[in-house]
Amino acid sequence: MPHFDELYGRKVTYRRLMGLGIFSALVLMIPVFMRDFYLLEVLFLCHYYAILACSWDLLTGYTGNVNFGHAFFVGGAGFTGALLNLHLNWQPWITLPVGGLVAALFGLVVGSFTLRLKGPYFAGVTFCFAALLYKLVMGASQVLGGEEGLFGICGLADTSLGNYYFSAILMLATVFFLYFLSRSPFGLILRSIGENETACESSGINTTFYKVTAFVISAFFAGVAGGMYCHAQMHVGPELAHDSLSGLILMMAVVGGMGSITGPILGAYLLTGLNESLRFMGELRLLIYSGIVVLVVLFAPKGLIDIIGKAKVLAGIRMGWKINRHEAKLKAYD
């Protein structure tokens, strides 16, 4: 087997692959041990948000261009798929990829025009597109359902269990793809753009091309996830294009740790779980939720994945293991 270390920009070690493998196994095996429908639906949400957060991370976490309108892709694909289903009776196995492609197309058009612009401008524009979509949906009640949205979309799988596995497989496929992409030369260049775009351009790299490509890929997966969500809920509504969704995705990726693909997964699981477990607090739920997010961002701005990484290093050093590469990393953080 090839030695992954050299093939890719960052070490894709056997250990990390094993970690992913264990994670996949867990995800796939959970329903065997726990048949609680409520839990399965919560986990469905976790998978959904994990795809959204990871896809968002590909652009923003690596190149540093903040995308404030990820919901634009989610909602765009969701509505496209819903309309195709309602009017043409296309089934999920077509509407999902088509939705993803439509989102990717949006990403291409928007990205080509706007990724030339500096950070704050790009962020503003992405927000505007998402907001416009939202307003469009709210306004065109006849076609797009207005505030209520559209009902009667055909379901994903017949049972909660089926939905769970669908989402799990989709999520794992997305995560594996994005993970390997981010550790590949493509990911290396994306990271270099985020580190220092000027130096990157001086080195002969067409940064706009890479940014747009990342944006398009990011859009595709978000779109597919959006379609998946709509079919599972059998409903699509304007909330799928709302800025709160964009903000939520952002926060999950940040809390988990931007720029790693694995961090956002963690963030998605954690925040979704947090949201559910705080339900008993009633009125105060969102307050505590947002308070926790603020604290995490203040004290662990690189995300929890980073904290875990540092903890592992500290534990390792104490046990006297030889880790020069990690030590170098730690030094850089000081």
Binding site: T60, G64, V66, F113, T114, R116, L117, K118, G119, P120, Y121, A123, G124, V125, F127, C128, F129, A131, L132, K135, G139, E197, T198, E201, D243, G247, L250, M251, V254, M258, E283, L284, L286, L287, Y289, S290, G291, V293, V294, V297, L298, P301
Partner: protein, 288 residues
């Protein structure tokens, strides 16, 4: 004719309100180089505090207004000192912490005041009629206060020593440091001004709009759009763009439909960024 006059008058009122909010936003970007996504929250706090002092506690209007603004300024300074300062190196983090704070403040208001709008009584009751267009005194008052506030800010920056140091940091931070200006203090002052202006806007518009927990979003996004259109870092640009937006929105609202007002700034931003990315009067480049 009446319609045109109505558009002009109402547009001026809204434009001046927007300029209050946008100027602070632009200022903090021009000086500290950050985009403060919790800016809308200061506006919201101003409104809610006004409600608390005036309606709940029954304190008289001028004192309430003063306290509301002062308290918001303190909050703004705390945000700058404790939340933004540690994050200054990487702009992405500033965006994220301020956004998270904005959500937090929203939930805070929700927890304290509930989801329903809180009404504040008009400071001055009655209307004035300008050529068959009725404008409430409250709106006129808002217009006056906005104009005064922005003018005071302009004077402050051009004439006072502190104000000039603010301008200096905005122009060239390193040179300012070499001249002995403490930039952290300047940032703090700028944030205080920024928060104060937003709070004033919130206080004076509270009787016109209700105070709801989600009210921080529209001023923030519009301020963002205004500042992009007018050019990041340019105060004059912010005021001009704000007035333009005020007129445009009012025109659309009266001539087309109130449902479309909130789309104006979105379309305008996209249009400007695609066509003329530096904004109307920007000092910085949108391209690298």
């Amino acid at each position: 004719m009446t319609t045109l006059l109505g558009i002009l008058i109402l547009g001026t009122v809204w434009g001046s309100l927007y300029s209050l909010i946008a100027v602070g936003f632009s200022l903090i970007f021009g000086v500290a180089g950050i985009i403060n996504l919790s800016h809308g929250s200061f506006y919201m706090l101003g409104a809610y505090l006004a409600y608390t002092f005036m309606t709940v506690l029954g304190i008289n209007v001028p004192l309430s207004a003063l306290m509301a603004v002062a308290l918001t300024v303190l909050v703004g300074m705390a945000v700058d000192r404790f939340c933004i300062k540690p994050m200054r190196e990487r702009h992405v983090y500033v965006l994220i912490i301020t956004l998270s704070l904005a959500f937090f403040f929203q939930e805070l208001m929700y927890a304290f005041y509930g989801p329903y709008g809180k009404a504040v009584k008009s400071f001055v009751v009655g209307e004035i009629e300008l050529g068959r267009v009725e404008v409430s005194y409250q709106k006129v008052l808002t217009l006056l206060v906005s104009t005064v506030a922005v003018s005071l800010l302009w004077l402050f920056i051009k004439k006072t020593k502190t104000g000039k140091s603010v301008a200096a940091v905005a122009q060239n931070k390193d040179a300012a440091i070499l001249m002995g200006i403490q930039y952290e203090r300047v940032y703090l002052i700028t944030m205080a001004i920024s928060a104060g202006l937003a709070a004033v806007a919130g206080v004076f518009i509270a009787p016109v709009l209700e105070a709801v927990p989600g009210m921080w979003t529209f001023p923030l996004f519009k301020a963002f759009a205004i500042v992009i259109i007018g050019g990041l870092g340019s105060i004059e640009g912010a005021v001009i763009a704000a007035m333009l937006l005020g007129y445009a929105e009012t025109a659309v609202s009266i001539l087309v439909s109130p449902n479309f007002t909130d789309m104006v700034y979105l379309v305008a931003t996209i249009f400007i960024l695609v066509v003329r990315p530096t904004g109307l009067m920007s000092k910085s480049l949108a391209y690298k």
